[in-house]
Amino acid sequence: MVKSKSAYSPPTNLGKLDTHIIVVWVTNEASVLSRVVGLFSGRGYNIESLAVAEVDQKNNLSRITIVTTGTPQVIEQILLQLKKLVPVHKVGNFKRDDKNVIFREMALLKIVANTVKIKKALITCKKFNPVILDQTNKSAVIQIIALKKEIDNVTKILKPLGLVSASRTGAVAMTRGAEIFN
């Protein structure tokens, strides 16, 4: 074994990585997003996607949805550290495979191709309620709403059909049934 010259503890065996969707309610004030994102970058946590918008104008609340991966220990730390931030009101945490939670991501896909290919592209998107937002005889902008994995797949298939640009929102989440998260 190589003789260690460092007094820091060597890295321990990592636990299993899980993908979690973390929902954060924050006061909608200047620099609040940077506090949340800075926490992730400063402590070395990963952000796969991020969606944020004001959800309550009266109470000045924004809702941030972050998709992240980490060991159970890291996820627990993320939640606890987020709760310490002053503008954070509450924090929700869901595993990506949680059946009681709906996850959705929206994508705007621009296809530049002939009408035949555009038609094929629409058929490919059929399962995801495609809406044509704009169409010319050599292009179309299609909106789909689906899971991240599904959009990943669709964009792969659409590449040869003339997909030139994709804009995605990142995942947002909502629990099923009458329950709300606390």
């Binding site: 260690s4 820091y8 503890s9 620099s31 730390q77 606890l80 002053v86």
Partner: protein, 588 residues
């Protein structure tokens, strides 16, 4: 209609309402309106430092020795960036600071104006929270909130950035609302079930240990009293982190000394072999745990902390109790008494074996060193300093390095808030300005900065502050002409390649003291040490004490790199006996 006040007036009115008596600062263009207002508030005394980092550390020393928040006032741009080290230091060691910084006028923000910087952006990761005041009407609320955030829950630094136009603008002022609690952030979140579970573990334990930290100090002097009561009621041994020293009397028989990288042999071995580890207000820092995989492998672990994010961050624990240390200890003691459990008596037999083992470890006398007649050993110097000052209520600050560890090992603290050292961030240059802050808070007390010659040069300028305000601080420099801890690591880990750790040119500290208008004393051999220390103590002015010590001395015992607690490296006395060679050397 109620009266309108300028932003600068509002700043001072809120400082008055928060009962602030001292602020540490340095003026500049963007805070001039606030400085202009200073003259109208005689209850608030401003201490002019020589560098903003010094203001920050002085406020830390002030806060840690009084339990009250320290207040810092600096200008925009370089004023704010200079204070960043102190803010980070306070953040790491949970010291309540309120830093007020000037900013360029609102309409110039973002234009790269003169002395502009993104202060809130720069300080976001090193404060609990910060505010850029964009509307004068928000200022009273923000000022009160700043003090509340800094002092509640786990304390820490905050910063309020006030643009110059806001300092001139006018608004109504309102007093802080009383008893307004920050939602869920300062609350105790434990219940009797947790306490019962802990008491049950304590009853069953045969090798228990308390491991207490800075949280006990931060919880207030009452927490230290309660801790002493609990320890005596249980008969358990107790060890402490660097920051926790003083919460439990350093000369008590149940105290095993400090633990961790330079902790005692008995404390670290007890941590390794115990079957119940009760962490009270400490955070399993990496200088404490050593190798994480092999940290205290046989124990049930309990963690008492006010900050829920400290729990399970590094070490997984079996029972966590989130709450203020004083409240938690009170509940434990109450429960023990209610159940009529005097563990000291009932558990005596079980624990007495444990104590026998501890006594065996104690015979190693791991803090021992080979003393000399010709050259002052640094440990000897600290011991003499302790013996000659222990009868006074002495406040000790330190810089960072070997001298800091020797101070922690050989100076025995009996009261909380008497020991100010930079632990988490390890900021060289902390001790001198911190001593300034301590002396401001306690003008009649003896305040000593145990220093190294390399650290002291980093914030040397603050001796000028001490002279200006007649603060009779004592700078006790253990001068070995090396960055001692760097040199030690280079000797042990980098084949004695002393790369850039020797200071070829050092000032004559006695003459330097005279140049600053204070007193310089030099000690060069063990015979004159006591007499010179007495002279220092009896001088009612700031003193720089240049104590020439053995250049080659290393700080032992030591947990070598990546090793668990039970594989400590002992001092030369023991090494001589056991002749560590060949394979053993690889342990380093």
């Amino acid at each position: 209609m109620s009266k309108l006040y300028s932003g600068a007036e509002i700043v001072f009115k809120s400082l008055e309402d928060q009962k602030v008596e001292h602020i540490f600062g340095y003026p500049g263009g963007a805070v001039l309106p606030i400085y202009d207002e200073l003259k109208n508030h005689p209850s608030i005394k401003h201490i002019l430092v020589r560098h903003e980092q010094g203001a920050g550390h002085a406020a830390e020393g002030y806060a840690r020795s009084t339990g009250k928040p320290g207040v810092v006032l600096v200008t925009s741009g370089p004023g704010a960036t200079n204070v960043v080290t102190a803010l980070t230091d306070a953040y790491m060691d949970s010291v309540p600071l309120v830093c007020i910084s000037g900013q360029v006028p609102t309409h110039l923000i973002g234009t790269d104006a003169f002395q502009e910087c993104d202060t809130t952006g720069i300080t976001r990761p090193c404060t609990k929270h910060n505010w850029l005041v964009k509307d004068i009407n928000d200022l009273p609320r923000i000022m009160h909130e700043a003090f509340e955030v800094a002092t509640t829950g786990r304390p820490g630094p905050v910063l309020v950035d006030i643009p110059k136009d806001i300092q001139f603008a006018k608004a109504k002022y309102f007093k802080p609302k009383k008893e307004k609690k920050l939602k869920e952030k300062s609350l105790n979140r434990f219940n009797q079930k947790d306490i019962d579970q802990l008491v049950d573990l304590m009853k069953k334990a045969s090798k228990p240990i308390f491991y207490s930290g800075g949280g006990v100090i931060n919880s207030g002097p009452k927490a230290s009293e309660l801790l002493r009561e609990l320890v005596s009621l249980t008969g358990f041994p107790i060890t402490s982190t660097l920051q926790g020293l003083g919460a439990y009397p350093g000369d008590d028989d149940q105290f095993l000394g400090m633990l961790g990288m330079h902790g005692t042999f008995e404390a670290n071995n007890a941590m390794h072999d115990c079957d119940l580890l009760i962490n009270i207000g400490a955070r399993f820092d990496d200088r404490i745990t050593g190798k994480i995989d092999e940290f205290s492998p046989k124990s049930k672990k309990v963690h008492i902390d006010i900050d829920p994010s400290s729990i399970n961050k590094i070490i997984k624990v079996d029972l966590s109790i989130v709450g203020d240390v004083a409240d938690v200890i009170k509940s434990i003691t109450k429960t023990l008494q209610k159940k009529n459990l005097n563990l000291e008596k009932s558990n005596k037999q079980k624990i007495s074996k444990w104590w026998q083992q501890i006594e065996k470890w104690r015979t190693k006398q791991s803090l021992n060193f080979i003393n000399s007649d010709t050259v002052i050993k640094p440990q000897h110097a600290v011991q003499r300093l302790y013996e000659l000052t222990k009868d006074r209520d002495t406040y000790i600050t330190t810089e960072v390095g070997q001298h800091q560890m020797w101070a922690a090992q050989h100076y025995k603290f009996n009261k909380p808030n008497r020991w100010m050292t930079s632990g988490g961030l390890g900021t060289m240059g902390y001790g001198l300005p911190a001593a300034v802050g301590v002396q401001v808070a306690h003008p009649e007390k003896l305040v000593i900065d145990i220093a190294g010659e390399a650290s002291i040069l980093m914030t040397m300028q603050e001796i000028s502050t001490a002279v200006q305000y007649n603060l009779p601080i004592k700078i006790f420099i253990l001068n070995n002409q090396y960055m001692g801890m760097v040199r030690q690591w280079q000797e042990l880990l980098h084949e004695k390649n002393y790369s850039e750790s020797y200071s070829k040119a050092l000032p004559d500290f006695v003459k330097l003291a005279e140049a600053y208008g204070c007193v310089g004393i030099r000690a060069e051999n063990p015979d004159e040490l006591d007499e010179k220390i007495e002279e220092m103590i009896n001088t009612d002015r700031p003193v720089i004490f240049d104590c020439h010590v053995d250049q080659a001395e290393n700080c032992y015992p030591m947990i070598p790199s990546g090793k668990p607690h039970n594989q400590m490296l002992l001092g030369p006395n023991d090494q001589e006996k056991n002749k560590i060679s060949g394979k053993g050397k690889a342990l380093v």
